[in-house]
Amino acid sequence: MSEIQYLMLSSTLAFISCAAYALVFNAPRRELFYCGLCGAISWFFFAAFRDCLNRPFWGTVAGSAAMTFAARFFSYRRECPSTIYHVPGIFPLVPGMLVYNTVTAMLDGDLLKMFGYALSVLKYSGAISIGTILVLILPYSVFRIGPTVSQIRARKQAAKQ
């Protein structure tokens, strides 16, 4: 499987998984698609940086930045709080493997390894925050691209009359 195909396939799976997890957190029915889209975006950037450039740390930063950008744009477009898109979008970036490795190292009694893994968990969650904050400091007016949902609806009604 070529790299592009792998990226596309795994992003689709990330889309499914984030939409499903958003449903667990009781997201509004109409927003599930956009929640999944945020997850796909964050995984796409992370996987692209990790596999093509071999930079997982910067991949996490880029993924969370791109995902926050999308979340804030959707929040303007769909007129919903951006948290709804942001929480499911973060799931593919959470360093779960490192948490697991920390636990196994602890059970092995290898304290040095355990602290190393625990610090990498902190490093990667810091990377998520850095990416998020980079986009959050932008003013909200940046994201006002195109009409919102209610404006589109009003236009359609006006066209009918």
Binding site: S17, P81, I84, V87, V99
Partner: protein, 254 residues
Amino acid sequence: MNSDRLLKLALDAGEIMLANGAETPRVEDTMERILSIGGSMEISANAMNTLLVASIHSEQTGSHALSRAVRSRDYNFEKIAHVNSLSRALVSGKITLEQAEEEIEKIHHEPYFPLPLVALSYGVGSWAITLVFGGSNWDGAAAFFSGILIGLMFAGLARWKKPYFLSSFLGGILAGFCAMLFYRTFGVDVESNHYSLATIGCIMPLLPGVTMTNGIRDVLEGNFISGSAKMMEALLTAVSTACGMAIPLSIFHF
């Protein structure tokens, strides 16, 4: 405008948002928006991790303040979205104060998705994310199986009052046990498959990624109290998940 009723409405709205996973700046924003329809200049709304304070001051009625402790912590996006749009409708004058009070009461008792659907979608989510992380088909199946069980537990616990770390702790235990049970029952070769990936896929939503991010964000913005409290909460939740995972691991592996 009756400032007592306004304060109560603002606190009700803030409580719903804070208890269902909204970040503190958003809660403060919504509360201030609701208080501002009283026409008073001196209003303030403060939200911390577990505490809400709102005050209002005007020449005619004097000073009023109200505080409330918020204990329960869950994620329910639909309620956040509803309260948000409700406060906007109230400020723009589309609904009156009485209607808003009725709406808030309705939002409190809003239905969840049906339990089987929640459990199934938890299973589907775990299956997909295990494959995303590079698991084999057997890993995906194991994650689906244990994801359904965790989803049932998760949805069942969401309706009860519980310590905040309980669901992540139990989730960690269940994830490890169910995945191992699945591998043993179907005779899957543990060496060539990734038991770790099946476990991680299930516990992904229990790990406090968002709480950690919000905590660091709050600290950088200068909200040290809620920021450090959130980081502490994230740390404890992660540790309790890890402890939960350690129990089945120590039984089966060592």
